[in-house]
Symmetry: C3
Subunit: 268 residues, 3 copies
């Protein structure tokens, strides 16, 4: 019916025009084919000859491993998923169905774990892996570290933009979308249906509830237990004005004391 509408050039009133637009772009893409340059994608699985795929990795016959990817031993790529090009998928890491992984992504590098031995750091071997659900999209040069003992988990429908850092043992809930250049530190849990604005930081070992929307450039250092919109951004200003306010900010606690003092004085 949508095809018919397109052909006839009729006006269509749709309930959700943005969603309709999304579907139109998909239609366009299917019609005008695969631009990327590898026409040889067939019905069976497809691995570019330049990719390095371990014989004990499992690539579904409808999956696609693009040029110059590395897929290590025991890794699994599910039906209809695509590693576009120059993607690293570490040993024992699992990608579900219909996922898109953009160039430069690293899944399953070691998490950042060390124990102090005097002044030296002793490496904690990262013995977990990464588990990625279905319908997940991962942007260019994003990194998802393997877990320390259990796995790092990205649930179904999660969308990650470019240059995101996901630490070991993080868990990201269904359909959560995270914009570019965000860092999620180790063992943080982000709920389902959240959105995280670009450039934000989520500290480690905390929990963010379902339905939380975090503004860009914000820093989460405590758990968030209620859905809602949260922000923590220093407002931008002309440099001279900023300088005066920032200098005063360093005395803010003392200013409060001075106000308290004035309030006390006024009632003799």
């Amino acid at each position: 019916m949508r095809d018919a509408a397109l052909n006839r050039g009729t006006t269509i009133v749709v309930q959700d025009p943005y969603l309709y637009y999304a579907k139109l772009t998909q239609l366009w893409r299917r019609r005008y084919g695969e631009w990327k340059g590898d026409e040889s994608v067939g019905a069976g699985g497809w691995i570019h000859p330049s990719a390095v795929v371990h014989p004990q990795a499992e690539v579904h016959q409808s999956a696609r491993i693009g040029p110059l990817c590395v897929v290590e031993r025991g890794a699994r790529v599910g039906a209809g998923s695509e590693l576009t090009s120059r993607v690293s998928l570490g040993y024992d890491c699992i990608i579900g169905e219909r996922c898109i992984v953009h160039p430069g992504v690293v899944i399953g590098a070691d998490g950042f774990g060390f124990a102090k031995d005097g002044e030296r750091w002793e490496k904690i071997e990262q013995l977990g892996a990464v588990w990625i659900g279905n319908d997940v999209e991962i942007g260019a040069n994003t990194c998802i570290d393997r877990g320390a003992l259990s796995d790092t988990v990205i649930e179904d429908g999660v969308k990650l933009d470019n240059l995101i850092q996901i630490g070991h043992n993080v868990r990201i809930g269904r359909n959560t979308a995270i914009a570019g250049s965000v860092a999620v530190a180790g063992s943080a849990t982000i709920g389902a249906n959240c959105t995280v604005g670009g450039g934000s930081l989520v500290s480690g070992h905390l929990t963010i509830a379902d339905g939380v929307h975090l503004s860009g450039c914000s820093c989460v250092s405590k758990s968030i237990t209620k859905p809602g919109v949260y922000t923590g951004v220093f407002p931008l200003d002309e440099h001279g004005d900023w300088e005066r306010n920032a200098a005063t900010l360093r005395q803010l606690h003392r200013l409060r004391e001075r106000i308290r003092h004035l309030e006390r004085e006024r009632q003799p």
Copy 2:
């Protein structure tokens, strides 16, 4: 003449010593040759045998495609430009003349576009490309996404440092320089001759005028219409002092009310 001066060891007074130093380093480099390890760069175009270049990509005969790059169908690389190594250039994306693209760069991955369908995200296919002008330098592991419908545009003379995220349909004006780890969200327009300090965030769908200088670590969430220097950084402090001031900051609006109250009281 400069060569002569160098040979004779004479003292040279130059108008702009830093610019002169830049030219000296270029001279040095030309004299002592190409260190990088690929002596086989000739007068004609040069593609490393390990690179994966689609037969329908156009690489100028004076361009250089280094090891393990991926150049997709319909992509174009102009005269004198170099993809150093491990660069991805997506289908239909265009790089002008005399550009330098450092390792790990991803040009033309999909922009981050989704429409909500209930709780699910429906992918908006990204049908635009990336257009990069002349004399552009792009730092290691930086990502420039393809546009949703029209192109993402990087104008002549732009310099991008490492690990920068440029969202879909961003436009960056001539000779603007952006330091490392900056994120520019989708559909933002940055003017010409701007500088952006490291670690900053530019939100989407806004415009920054020509000649704006943004301090590092700052977050732009509204358009900037006048040239100048802009800053938005929480001043660093010893942790204990920070903690007191940050706690008070959360009551700042109420503090203002208390000051107002005191001001009113004092005039009976």
Copy 3:
């Protein structure tokens, strides 16, 4: 003795359980072998056939160069070090012994150096290299730029997480650990035994003393001369509360003036 304890399942009381755990993970890993998929690692040096290694690079016979790495002319990799996969090691850059370099890392791309020539930027060729000590670990997609004239230096025992940007001529002291998505701008010096929290920015041309601990999401714009914990984070809040406080913050300097005024008035 530890092995015996493990086998017998006896309870062990250890002085530093976290360090003990680290050593246990290493033991486990040694026992259960090399998961990564390249069983062919032998006693001699090992270079994956897909890696591009210049004949004039020096790889120690006990080092390992994984799939799809690029090692340029004059680069050196010391005993027991591993470039996991898809790593770029630039010409003349040196890696010490027992280092681990994770996928996507770029060592020795050009530093970000330009001189203004009118409105144009003239490139300053980066003639230094990168020097990395022993026992350094470098996380996925992290970038370390080559120096402008002298080298960028990463001392022994430094641990860098993923997606970190290290500018040209930075020096990082022994055993300092830096979490993900941090940017260190050119010519900054960070002392020994420091920790830097995720998402922080260290501005260029400054010095941080030994034993400084920087909270995540903080921005260092002046030198830090004393050890201690330093923080500069705008506290996260519900968006409405944030909005009121942020608006007031822009008037903070004037608020201080009003308090001063009230204080003066009160003493006639």
